[in-house]
Amino acid sequence: MGVSPRALIAAAALSLAACAARPPVLPSLMPQVTAPVELRDTPFFPQAEYQCGPAALATVLNTAGVEIEPDGLVSQVYVPAKRGSLQIELLAATRRAERIPYRIEPALAALRAELDAGRPVLILQNLGLDFMPVWHYAVVVGIDPAGDQLILRSGVERRRLSRAADFLRSWEMAANWGMVVLRPGEMPTRATQKRLLAAIALSEPMLSPEARQRAYRAALDRWPASINARFGYAHALHAAGELAAAESNYRAVINQHPRHAAAFNNLAEVLKDRGCYTQAGIVAGRALVIATEDQPALVEPISETLRGLPAPSGGADRCKQAEQSFQSR
């Protein structure tokens, strides 16, 4: 088999030429979106050493009003032996900054929608190969359909232009993972109920009661029938000491879903804080019965609620009145 060197060179040249002449991909992926978008004001923090995680995170946190430098994030997200940062810890550090990390749908259209709303998107890329990955975080700040490229804050480059095909390939090899940072109460452009409520709920332990009220309130405004949003709102009201409002929201959850063991449990906690121990005992007992039948996982916390209830005493009448005033509404 005599393949001349000249033929080989010709073939190589042809394949390179083929690469260079690859057709643009953005027009076919998003034919109706032709306007460019670029968030030019997005700050830039050039990464130091292996720390694209802290740099990228600082970029999106600053955009959401958190004044923090990458140096301040290294101790929160960097894992020295892995020479990098984990996605989970980027989410966690966002929560620690009293913001809500929202994972966008893994699609270019979702990414574009966030850019259109003025939110840069922190993404994970695999710049290597499936079996030889090179993981890298960058922040997408723009899309240029005419030039068929994406605009990123990446590594030490303030304005990295990435060919759409290259970017999409590297993004896809990282499962199209991307997140935006929300201020509590802010809604992502294409929020799905489940995604957003999971994002808020997982941030709940790190957020102040006021921040949580704003976040759940916004979710309720969008989806008034959302049980988890109502539940979270009630939970935040309780934490803020607004017992009457917390109680009425837990009761609204129970009206919608009469076998909501957790709402019964938390209602018992509110009643306890109001000094209505007899009623609290009855409601917690109901929670325990439902949980035993439907949700064994909740038996443990509900038992603790019951154990935490003091013996009933004189306040019963006052509570009864409150109860009646509720029902008459």
Partner: protein, 126 residues
Amino acid sequence: MKNTFKKMVVMLLILSMSLLGLPAVSLAAPIGTDTLVQLDQRGELLSRIQTKLARDDVRAQFLERGVSPTEVDARIAALSTEELQTLSMQLDELPAGGSLLAVVGVVFVVLLILDLVGVTNVFTRV
């Protein structure tokens, strides 16, 4: 008079002895929305003990991998139980976004060649 005093002492003793059996603080707290969401997603919850084990495990793994002892607890506190479990089970397999400087040896050479022929895009600019 003496009797009354004795009675009081006995009562006090009984009271304090009976309190010994109780936990110092009640563990009761409202169930969080995070708990509900995780229950929705997985259909089960980690028990208090399982959660503690996962937390201890991730803590140990973090320390082993160079996370500062003064930071490790605050980092773990910001994780959901599900995230704790994920880290506990697969910390080594999970992607850690770092830098191109992490690419060394044979991998570097292979990727450099692939970059030059346009397969990967690690080192090249547009």
